[in-house]
């Protein structure tokens, strides 16, 4: 691992044009990357260039621009495939976002394979997007959704999970990192045990992708999903990795152009590989932008990003703990740089409004994780989520802003 002194966060901040602006007359202290991350200049430039110089539809024409555009789009798939260490580029499907990726698996794999009484195991940590699609498929198939509990620190309870796994378990869908409280789940143990029980596993990597290197083969995940905009790419692009042997047997999710082999009014045969799941004109420039974003983070290196973020997490945790009446929600042993907290007697929305006037951008609310909020018996929390461009000054701004909340509320 590189020495921390080589992590020049100020240089990295200069890669992100947004940090040159102020909010309410204060320097922007942006700690809402868990909702969506800011974009480096290289992603903006790459997308602009694609529109200005090489834009055309993909996979359709024989003309020059169509060919260049197709090469760039498929080049982005190669970047994502290499980044995830997929066995083949055929295993990488571009979607709109992580939510669509999960819905694709639920509606295609789930609908085709689930039978009445089968079980889908989720966890209390899940984002609504990894709960609701499964509930809808359970309604259609007669399968049952169950949630693996977490303990008082917000840790995924492996023992309980092992006890819940059984011959009825067909799908396990668990987050890699909790968006609301930062818990890193023991995905390898989760996947191994699920496979022993004969179930397939979907990992929601939306929060993991910006913070750590992901190796789908080493993890053994059957499906792995993430979204582009949280990993410094544009909105409108998401990724579904799926093992080829599963994808080959799955029916299409969305139907239309580009996913067919041959269409007649009597019968249509479908394309093979990722093409079967990419109906219609795909998000071409968004995919190219995602490729640039992944190159960008890999150039910095996840070892160094991870070390920097863990330093920020430790610093922010220590500083926030000094504040009377502040309670940190979720204190798992292995956490990503996400801190959820509440202040006694102050609703998180009031916290959010007041710190915003100090230029501090954090998320307040239930974080689309209401079962998790129920577990901690809170309606909402304030959440600071850090990324590779945050510095200690951001933490200091957050702490000062939270103290100003206390001043106002007395």
């Amino acid at each position: 691992m590189n020495d921390m002194t080589t992590y020049d966060v100020e240089k990295i901040r200069r890669d992100f044009p947004i940090f040159s602006r102020e909010v309410h007359g204060k320097p922007l202290a942006f700690m809402d990357s868990g909702a969506s991350a800011q974009k480096p200049q290289v992603v903006i430039d790459t997308m602009e260039k694609a529109y200005l110089e090489t834009y055309a539809n993909v996979h359709r024409g024989v003309h020059y621009l169509s060919q260049v555009s197709t090469e760039l789009y498929e080049g982005a798939r190669e970047i994502v495939s290499a980044h995830l260490n997929a066995a083949s580029i055929e295993e990488v499907i571009f979607t709109k976002n992580a939510t669509e990726s999960i819905n694709l698996v639920a509606y295609s794999y789930g609908w085709a394979n689930l039978k009445p009484g089968d079980e889908i195991l989720l966890s209390t940590l899940e984002h609504h997007s990894n709960i609701v699609p499964w509930q809808l498929i359970a309604e259609k198939t007669g399968a049952v959704v169950k949630a693996v509990p977490i303990d008082e620190h917000g840790e995924f309870m492996l023992d309980a999970y092992y006890g819940m796994l059984g011959p009825k378990t067909k799908i396990v869908a668990v987050t890699h990192i909790s968006n609301a409280i930062g818990t890193i789940t023991p995905v390898r143990e989760i996947i191994d045990a699920a496979h022993d029980a004969g179930a397939v596993v979907l990992i929601d990597g939306s929060q993991a992708a910006p913070h750590m290197k992901i190796d789908v083969q080493s993890l053994g995940a059957d499906f792995y999903v993430f979204t582009g905009h949280k990993v410094f790419g544009p909105t409108g692009i998401g990724v579904l990795y799926g093992k080829a042997e599963l994808l080959d047997k799955m029916p299409p999710f969305l139907a239309g152009g580009d996913m067919i082999e041959r269409v007649t009014f009597e019968k249509t045969t479908f394309a093979k590989g990722h093409a079967k799941f990419e109906a219609g004109t795909p998000p071409i420039v968004q995919a190219i932008g995602l490729g640039a974003a992944i190159d960008y983070v890999n150039n910095i290196g996840f070892d160094r990003i991870g070390a920097h973020e863990q330093m920020l997490l430790a610093y922010a945790t220590e500083q926030l703990k000094q504040i009377n009446s502040l309670r940190i929600i979720g204190q798992a042993k292995h956490k990503a740089a996400i801190i959820s907290f509440t202040l006694d007697g102050v609703h998180p929305h009031d916290i959010g409004t007041i710190v915003d006037r100090g230029g501090v951008a954090i998320r307040v609310g239930h974080h689309c994780a209401q079962p998790l909020m129920d577990h901690f018996d809170v309606a909402a929390t304030a959440r600071a989520s850090f990324a590779l461009y945050n510095n200690r000054a951001d933490v200091d701004a957050l702490v000062a802003a939270v103290r100003s909340v206390q001043e106002i509320f007395g």
């Binding site: 309606a379 106002i408 509320f409």
Partner: protein
């Protein structure tokens, strides 16, 4: 501290949010509605006892929410008690315009000054729904529509 924050979180507002008035469920309430803001998960139940000629004989609420929504609900129950249904609706109409910044000459008679305390919300468009949640629930309670959502 920024002036608009002081304007929003005035002493009176903080006092109502910490010690909400009429925070109870009257046994003789004959109209009620549940308000829910799915954005933040805030909830409010508004209870009304309506007598002859649409007179609001009692108004109360229970719920969970931010300082703005609790204070607004608390002040609302004080204001509408003793008013008629049509008077209460008229005040709500004016109040909604006030917090949305659409009304510069807000006049709610004797209640003008009190409601002006919440006028600071207009500088915070994301918080308008917090200020109006209980009022929408009041309106639904009078309509006998027991559930409302701000979305």
């Amino acid at each position: 501290m920024m002036d608009d924050l002081r304007e929003l979180y005035q002493e009176v507002i903080l006092d109502h949010s910490k010690r909400p008035r009429n925070f109870r469920h009257p046994a003789d309430a004959n109209h009620e509605a549940h308000g829910y803001n799915p954005l933040c998960g805030d909830t409010v139940n508004v209870y009304l006892k309506m007598g002859h000629n649409g007179l609001i004989e009692d108004a109360a609420f229970e719920g969970k929410g931010c300082a703005i929504s609790l204070a607004s609900a608390s002040m609302m129950t004080e204001i509408i008690k003793g008013k008629t249904e049509s008077e209460a609706r008229e005040i709500f109409d004016g109040f909604q315009k006030l917090v949305k910044g659409e009304e510069n000459e807000f006049d709610a008679g004797e209640d003008t000054e009190r409601l002006m305390m919440l006028a600071g919300v207009k500088e915070f468009p994301m918080r308008v729904k917090c200020a109006t949640l209980a009022w929408h629930a009041m309106s639904s309670a009078m309509d006998d529509k027991p559930e409302i959502s701000t979305e």
